[in-house]
Symmetry: C2
Subunit: 232 residues, 2 copies
DNA sequence: AAGTGTGAATTGATTCACAGCC
DNA sequence: GGCTGTGAATCAATTCACACTT
């Protein structure tokens, strides 16, 4: 766990979040989503086993995870869906509005600007920002693109504390520095470089090519394995 | 670690890949990228400390990780950049060509089709597939969109073994089932549901909204903390 | 009878610290 | 003298298994 880097597995923490383990935190969004889906289907109660299946984890882990938040279940019965949704929402900060700024309106920035999954979870795109003058004023996903020079003003005016870096690798660190200087405390990094940030600022990296490479690694192993068996 | 699910930290493994720990595998792409960048800048040798900084990890972890692959460094000197790039490439299966099929050509599918980072790392988009008839024949990122009915044929003809699911949540499981039935052994899942797959098939999930939620969790903690201090 | 909550055991990952080699 | 490679120590996450509650 580093303040700035990491992989499918070791990102963040800067403030050791009360007692909730990092691995548990990373699964809470999963549980939240599964619960919302169950609620939509009219379920009022779930057992740890049912919820675990819906979230794609095993039930022991789920119960352990939930136990870090409190004792929200009823023995012999299960969990009240609505109550648990509420508790997890509160824990995740979903009950508040999070204005987000997206820097870099290339392919990915475009997709993010149009992505519906953000709005439905309390994330509001406060502004899109791009360095390219020809994009300034363009409308993307219903939002107008602002010049990079406006970054600081936007962060201050909208009270942005989460920034998304979707720029080319070469621009990422500078953009990140400016975001942090302007007061942003959390950065989601799609660029292919690790971002250096001061202690207290959190960064998560999402690296699409890395994800494919990890799959390729396992795939290759499987094929070697299959070849070996065929040879025997 | 489940065959199908995951957390900020626990995805995959199906074939316990020789001796290399999962956490190490997930960092290899990071090292690979940092090395390529160093090579571009003309470096011929790196110490574990330099490479660690470039990759955003600490040097002890880096050395331990590399030691799982073999003893590729020279004591007192460091690592030969080219040689190490080669060894990691080989380990990751980067020396071979990986045809990939992308199912779902919405916002995200578009961005993925245009994403340059794939091609440069041995991943070739063999085809784009979408269920919407009005997209069939359209050209996206220089590739023509095929109807969903062609999925099995495409996988077979192009020898696809990695599939990318970028469909709405409701369609994801069915698409995944068809991919797996057609012979795909690794799936990258951008949909907001866990995919159930048979043992031996690997799935990695990338969930953009979850990443923001994890950041929001930490951000909220920081703000509560800051409020508490201000009150004292 | 059913199912949560949790200590204890286990497994896995990270960090330390230094012997060994260049 | 500098830096890798790695056992040993530590720390974190997962799983087990069962006491306890409804």
């Amino acid at each position: 766990m580093t303040r700035a880097g990491r992989n499918g597995r070791d990102q963040l923490p800067a403030v050791r979040s009360r007692g909730v383990p990092e691995a548990t935190i990373a699964r809470l969004p999963l549980y939240h989503r599964a619960l919302v889906a169950l609620d939509d289907r009219g379920a009022t109660t779930v057992s740890s086993e049912e919820l675990a299946v819906a979230a794609g984890v095993n039930s022991a882990k789920l119960r352990k995870d939930l136990s870090y938040l409190g004792s929200y279940g009823t023995r012999g019965v299960g969990y009240d869906v609505n109550y648990l949704v509420y508790q997890i929402s509160r824990e995740l900060g979903l009950t508040q509005d999070w204005p987000v700024v997206i820097v870099g309106v290339g392919n990915l920035g475009h997709a993010l600007a149009n992505y519906q999954g953000f709005a439905s979870r309390g994330f509001r795109i406060a502004a899109l920002v791009d360095a390219a003058p020809e994009l300034t004023g363009e409308s993307v996903g219903g939002l107008c693109v602002h010049p990079l020079a406006d970054l600081e003003r936007i962060v201050a005016d909208a009270g942005v504390c989460i920034g998304v870096v979707a720029t080319p690798a070469g621009a990422a660190q500078e953009v990140c520095d400016r975001l942090v200087a302007a007061g942003v405390g959390s950065v989601l990094n799609f660029a292919a470089v690790p971002l250096r940030v001061p202690v207290g600022v959190d960064v998560r990296r999402v690296d699409l090519a890395s994800e494919l490479q990890i799959l390729a690694f396992h795939q290759q192993r499987k094929q070697i394995e299959a070849g070996r068996e065929a040879a025997v």
